[in-house]
Symmetry: C2
Subunit: 268 residues, 2 copies
């Protein structure tokens, strides 16, 4: 196995980041040897770096000796602007959307050719779904993804359509002509829909959150296919997306909008 | 200023973690020189490590040259067990609690002498509050904190009571005798209350989430002081806490409980 000595050009910092990169959705828990293999590091190097990360509480070790992401990394992640600004601003609008639909409500951002789910509201009666906060799914098979792609630049859309796109179900749209048509319709109507394109049995409606005409995020709901009135869900989804966009434009650069900063002062 | 050379014992890994540790709630955005000072590193070392972290997208640089936590660290944090297990299991119960109260609903865990807020649901009409996901507040002045402390071991409680405790408002309880009495009452009743002990104008009710009699988290609501019927909020809070505890005991070690793993299979 290649390790420390075989790659003298790798910095210690990049080795530490490679260990963190070993974790993903399909691999939330890893043994020391899994980590060494996935990070392409020797076992002693991995052991030392994992030890530092664990003492720092960025990783934690369970009873079976498997490692997973720990409290310190969650705490840091929650300081990101995606969380303190986007997610916190979006929450009351997502809450309203949840109450009016009782379905899974998502907030997602684009990351390359994927959507990253930043927040999800779900109730006991919502349809079980595969999207997970912190998870990624393709742009072209999800409502939030199509909403983000439809507001991208022409060059960006062309580039996306020229790729070999995945087909998670037989209803996924990956033919360039059909997908382009779908994106044009999405843009015209202001919202995207998917019908079993990601998961058999579930459909979605989503709309982009626009700030200065840029799609900074998308908000959407996922419902059972038996709930066929997708277009009727469009109005609450559109209102939520517009509300979030307007509020984001308003707050500008405040890292904690809407919070009480001085807690010894009586509330308004 | 001390830096690279003055502390030859510091490893590169620990220097990188010191840069991440420079960010906290009061300091979500930092310049390069802020980072160097707070991490106690030379400017060249800071520059190099921040460069690596930024290319990795763990940090991002805004238009004014300030750095903050980026997408990659949020994404990693969302893989933690606190998020995928605790938070995801708790969400539908928190949602019910929100619907029955319309108030801020919190999920928090203990971290030493603080509570760390893992999730918060909030609506447009909820009282503005200082708790923030990813933020920490003292154990003895918050509902979730007192709920967690009340179920701690006797030695742990004694240790906590022997400290010099903070007093964010004039109603904060920090006298050992009064606080012990309050914790005993909390334990007897099954839920904690606070009355303007953290923030003037707001009160809270919280209950611990118990798994094998261990307090693994606490769930609570924060309301305006004018809403005086705190004890009436106890029942929905207790139900949520018990529901989450029962579900956590059920799922055991599943890293993604309740999710559909095979997305090409029709939903149940």
């Amino acid at each position: 196995m290649s390790g420390n000595n075989s790659q003298p050009g790798r910095t210690v910092a990049s080795r530490m980041l490679a260990i963190l990169d070993a974790f993903d959705f399909e691999h939330p828990k890893l043994t020391l040897s899994d980590l060494a293999r996935r990070a392409d590091l020797s076992l002693p190097t991995t052991h030392r770096l994992v030890g530092e990360l664990t003492r720092w509480r960025g990783l934690e070790r369970d009873d079976e000796g498997k490692y997973r992401v720990g409290l310190r990394l969650l705490e840091l992640g929650l300081l990101s602007g995606l969380h303190t600004q986007l997610r916190d601003v979006a929450m009351p609008f997502m809450q309203e959307l949840y109450e009016s639909t009782r379905e899974n409500v998502h907030l997602a951002v684009r990351d390359g050719d994927k959507v990253l789910y930043v927040e999800k509201l779900t109730g006991h009666r919502s349809v079980p779904i595969i999207s997970r906060t912190g998870g990624r799914l393709p742009l072209h098979t999800t409502g939030v993804g199509k909403a983000l792609l439809a507001w991208a630049s022409t060059a960006d859309i062309d580039d996306h359509l020229s790729r070999q796109l995945s087909r998670p179900t037989r209803y996924s749209i990956r033919e360039p002509g059909r997908l382009r048509h779908d994106l044009q319709r999405t843009r015209r109507r202001g919202f995207a829909t998917t019908r079993e394109e990601m998961t058999l049995g579930s459909c979605s409606v989503a709309s982009p959150v626009l700030v200065d005409d840029e799609p900074v995020a998308a908000v959407g709901v996922v419902v059972r296919s038996s709930r066929l009135e997708l277009d009727r869900l469009a109005q609450p989804v559109l209102s939520a997306a517009r509300g979030i966009g307007a509020r984001l434009s308003e707050i500008g650069d405040d890292p904690y909008p809407g919070y009480v900063h001085d807690f010894a002062r009586p509330l308004p």
